[in-house]
Amino acid sequence: MLARLIPVSLALALLQVSLRFKDDGDLARRLKARDGGAMRELYDRYGRLVYSLILRMVRNSAAAEDLVQETFLRVWNRIQAFDQERGALGPWVVTVARNRAIDYLRSADGKMSAAALELDQLEHPGRFCDFEDRALSLDRARRIKAAFEKLTPHQKTVVELAYYEGLSQTEMAERMQQPLGTVKTWVRSALKALREQLTEAAAV
């Protein structure tokens, strides 16, 4: 079946993602110690992912490069608050990257300040602790991808607007010219579907 045929290249891409998240505890420890070469390793592990995500969000390669630099600088400057024993480096780095792009999109839009401060708290390294083992494993990545593919077009749109454009549900309703209640239903059902794929995976 098609679903069985496609995943070869997909699986390879996802495998790379999951490999990136290996041994992050040791890398975090070396980053904290300002070990020569630790930043290089961090970049080699996450640079491509961070750049791909940011470019997808801001759609401008010069701005994307600035924001990638900002992302790594921020990780470098805040790594001391990261717990290398219990923390999940990958999820944190990805979140920091997404938030830099959101800050950029919002400031280009004339919005900002209070929201930027809020993102700042939400991405505090202390929050990225005690994740279940293999938070970004190949299996979980594959499951969430499959779950996303199964969403309706409207559900996909609202998910993308939240993740990649940082829109609130009110803003989504405006953008899509749909009633707020309808948008909320799409959002709720979409996120539930994504989440349940993962909890089912854990239960199996």
Binding site: Y51, E65, Q69, A97, E118, F131, A162, L167
Partner: protein
């Protein structure tokens, strides 16, 4: 609202896009360390990170890597270039000499050693770059205006220590080494580390640790194991 009512709000909350009553409720539950909600938030952070890892891969330009690394002082491409160039030059000189008087294995071995040393120096070069990047680092040069003197710079950072970069150093007699001294105002010279020079009479020496900001720095030639106080004339010195 109950924790269960908020179950579907945590992804949005973690993305910073939740608003209104739901956001206030989430914040209230988290503020009172509601265990169920903390678990939901953790799950949501995991879902979000997974979703954000799905962007189609694009290869970033290689200049971006250099830029990121140099912004935190871990880029050594610039230094590598200089060092690799120096190594290449010494090899070219060796080859050119070879035309004149036949290249010796020893000269080739030296060139190779220079290259290997260059690689071994990476960490120290990185340390030096970090040092130079600090705003409070001050610099004094020495050797200007003398006929055939050692030349170079002392960099002093009261918090981090001293970095010395020197060239044109005289070849050391067998069994000798260079020793750096920190001389406080009105005090006796304090030993500040031993170092050797490279094949072209160049040297880099780093003293780590806090240093007074108004000291004099000096270098002398000492017996291989170093001396507690200078035993020869000052080779060069500079005051801050």
């Amino acid at each position: 609202m109950t924790c269960e009512d908020l179950r579907d709000s945590y992804e949005l909350y973690a993305l910073g896009v939740l608003e209104g009553e739901e956001k206030r409720e989430v914040e209230a539950h988290l503020a009172r360390n509601c265990a169920a909600c903390e678990k939901y938030l953790k799950d949501a952070l995991g879902v979000n990170a997974l979703m954000l890892s799905q962007a189609q891969e694009v290869v970033p330009p290689s200049r971006l890597r250099r830029r990121v690394l140099s912004s935190v002082g871990q880029q050594r491409a610039g230094w590598e270039w200089v060092a690799a160039l120096a190594a290449a030059c010494s090899l070219i000189v060796a080859l050119w000499l070879g035309v004149e008087k036949r290249i010796t294995d020893r000269e080739l071995a030296n060139a190779r050693a220079t290259l290997q040393q260059t690689v071994g120096e990476r960490d120290r070069l990185e340390q030096a770059v970090t040092f130079l990047n600090q705003p409070e680092t001050r610099q004094v040069n020495f050797g200007q205006g003398q006929p055939a003197p050692p030349r170079g710079n002392f960099f002093l950072n009261p918090r981090m220590g001293v970095l010395l970069i020197a060239s044109n150093l005289p070849a050391l007699p067998a069994g000798k080494t260079y020793e750096m001294w920190v001389i406080p105002k009105g005090g006796a010279p304090q030993p500040a580390g031993l170092f050797q020079s490279g094949p072209q009479g160049t040297a880099m020496h780093i003293l780590t640790g806090a240093v007074d900001s108004n000291v004099t720095l000096a270098v002398t030639v000492e017996p291989e194991s170093g001396s507690p106080a200078p035993t020869s004339n000052v080779l060069f010195a500079a005051g801050f």
